[in-house]
């Protein structure tokens, strides 16, 4: 995978989008061929190694946010840092930074049910980004958002990509989303049919 890119898999339903994301995210292994992510061959990773790769280097953003419903914004964003054994002071600093990136400082004690869809997705992005991973996988991240929120979310991710050099990999068939991204890979029935690179 190319680093520091903002790229997308564009595809129709059933073309292999989720499978592709799962394999890149080391949640699944390829049945044939080889997939290398951040210099790790996914097929040869043990479960512990795959978990370690996800813990240190990968972030996930889901279509339906998948926040921990009973934990507040701070605790949701803090969770990946707990797995990385940061101290409480370090965690607090990092979470506060992530909240600032996404403009969520006033929502620090709110719980997901008290947030709008756009705010939930921003929390999800902050949670994915707080550990500053090399790669963030986003599966239809704006599917549940209106146009204004989608725009804001995508702008936020674009800014984070530029600031932290984190590669964002989207899976979507939404043209509006695609227009924000620089590299577009088109899949059809599991095969790459086009690979476009636009802008910087």
């Amino acid at each position: 995978m190319l680093q520091n890119r903002h790229l997308v898999f564009r595809q129709q339903s059933g073309s292999g989008k989720t499978t592709m994301l799962n394999i890149i995210g080391s949640l699944d292994i390829p049945s044939a061929g080889e997939v290398t992510v951040l210099n790790h061959s996914i097929g040869s990773l043990t479960q512990k190694e795959a978990a370690n790769l996800r813990k240190k280097s990968l972030g996930f953003i889901f279509q339906s946010y998948n926040l921990f419903g009973v934990h507040n914004v701070f605790e949701n964003i803090e969770f990946p840092l707990l797995l990385l054994d940061y101290t409480a002071a370090e965690r607090k600093k990092m979470v506060m930074e992530a909240l600032e990136w996404l403009g969520l400082t006033d929502k620090i004690r709110s719980k997901p049910p008290q947030l709008s869809g756009g705010e939930c997705q921003r929390v999800a992005i902050a949670r994915a980004m707080v550990k500053k991973p090399s790669l963030v996988l986003a599966d239809e991240p704006t599917a549940n958002l209106d146009a204004a929120n989608s725009h804001n979310i995508l702008r936020s991710m674009e800014a984070l990509n530029r600031e932290f050099k984190t590669t964002f990999l989207f899976a979507t068939h939404d043209d509006k989303v695609i227009s924000y991204l620089r590299r577009k890979i088109f899949l059809d029935d599991g095969r790459i049919v086009n690979d476009e690179l636009t802008g910087n």
Binding site: T18, T19, L27, A51, L58, S64, N66, V70, L83
Partner: protein, 424 residues
């Protein structure tokens, strides 16, 4: 991470409060049911203890060998000092001297001639002392059918059926004809103060219930008694303690006692009561086990469902890089916490309910009227030491095992599958 898990556990009612409530209810029912079954089965033994056997019985060695014949010529003598000695030695036991006797009940007409007569069993116990627990122990006031309780010397109670058979009413005079402790004939007049129905076939055939003082006079048994019955103050028979007490008494006072030397026998050492006590224990254990297994399955299932319901959350955690083993262990820790909390709360509630049932009981005398069964008229629970930890079997073990089984799914499923379930 522990804080994160604890916060989740405390804030998510469906993960903590509801499972704790379910476990508490299951554990409370288990404890209550076990105490109830133990109490109920024990009550049947209690009836036999109260009427004839006592939890412990002291009698002479000769009397003991021919107990069925009630050989009062082999009765204990100097009973007051022996009773006092027993009271001092065994503080946890109430001691009550009794005399069982047999003879003929003769009902005279207005001329003093025999109108009717019949064979009668007799039971002499302390009826006139207001401090005596014997009236309550035998539930005589509750069994009264006609007339009143004996209030003065030579007043007796007759079994209702027996009084009908003899055509005797409260206030009538009956004459007891029998033999004294020394083998000579005795004739003694009693006045029937009331009639009772014990609700038990064995007792309702024909019995005179008299104050032991009057019986002593009638049978020339001054300061003597056929037997001294001992009853544990806790109210329930404990075979181990009873056997220990009997062994200690007989050991100290000579196991191979001569005819007139006192010996002590536990309830289970008297006649066929031993096999009955054994049967009661095994039935009690079997019924309790069936209930515990049923409760375990319920709580196991609750643990299983609780674990499966969290596949979504597990999916997120795994996606973020949490190790499967760590996730699995954290679920088990949670189950241990829930199981422990539920077991403690449930045990406290169960013990409290069992205590209420032990103290106040449930009066079923209305249902038992006319029954020939030797059944208790008040159902009581009996709290045993085992009730303090019994509930932890379904409460803790089943909940944890249920969670462990559901957690195996985490290992069996591909991570991506969990992820898919999360997205669904």
């Amino acid at each position: 991470m522990i804080k994160f898990l604890l916060i989740g556990l405390i804030r998510d009612k469906s993960r903590s409060r509801i499972p704790v409530i379910v476990v508490s209810i299951g554990v409370a029912l288990t404890v209550l049911m076990h105490a109830y079954i133990t109490g109920f089965m024990g009550d049947i033994i209690e009836i036999n203890a109260r009427v004839t056997h006592g939890h412990l019985k002291v009698m002479t060695a000769g009397y003991s060998e021919n107990m069925q014949q009630m050989p009062n010529d082999l009765a204990l003598t100097d009973v007051s000092s022996l009773t006092e000695e027993l009271r001092q030695k065994y503080a946890g036991v109430e001691w009550s001297p009794r005399i069982q006797f047999a003879g003929i009940a003769d009902v005279p007409d207005e001329n003093g001639e025999t109108r009717t007569q019949g064979p009668a069993m007799g039971l002499g116990l302390d009826l006139l002392d207001p401090q005596s627990p014997e009236r309550e122990r035998m539930n005589l006031e509750g069994s009264l059918v006609r007339g009143s309780m004996p209030g003065k010397a030579n007043e007796v109670l007759l079994i209702e059926l027996f009084s009908r058979k003899l055509d005797v009413n409260p206030g009538d005079r009956i004459t007891f004809i029998g033999s004294t402790m020394y083998g000579s004939m005795t004739i003694h007049d009693f006045t029937v103060s009331g009639t009772v129905s014990m609700g038990q076939e064995a007792l309702d055939r024909g019995m005179i219930i008299a104050d032991i003082g009057d019986v002593r006079i009638a049978l020339d048994m001054e300061n003597a008694a056929g037997e001294i019955l001992g009853f544990f103050r806790e109210g329930f028979y404990d075979d181990e303690i009873a056997m220990e007490n009997a062994a200690a008494f007989n050991g100290a006072d000579g196991g191979n006692a001569k005819d007139l030397a006192p010996v002590m026998k536990s309830l289970s050492q008297q006649g066929t009561m031993g096999s009955y006590v054994g049967m009661t224990k095994s039935w009690s254990a079997m019924i309790s086990m069936v209930f515990i297994i049923a409760m375990s399955l319920v709580l196991w299932n609750a643990g299983l469902l609780g674990g499966m319901r969290r596949y979504g959350e597990v999916g997120i955690r795994l996606a973020m890089g949490e190790d499967k083993g760590h996730t699995y262990r954290s679920m088990i820790y949670e189950a241990v916490m829930i199981g422990l909390a539920g077991s403690v709360v449930g045990t406290v509630i169960g013990l409290f309910l069992a205590w209420l049932l032990q103290k106040y009981g449930i009066d079923i005398s209305g249902i038992m009227q006319g029954s020939a069964l030797m059944m208790p008229t008040v159902i009581r629970a009996n709290i045993n030491p085992v009730d303090y930890y019994l509930g932890f079997i379904p409460g803790l073990i089943s909940t944890v095992v249920g969670t462990m089984l559901s957690g195996i799914g985490i290992y069996k499923r591909q991570t991506a599958r969990l992820f898919k379930e999360l997205e669904a």
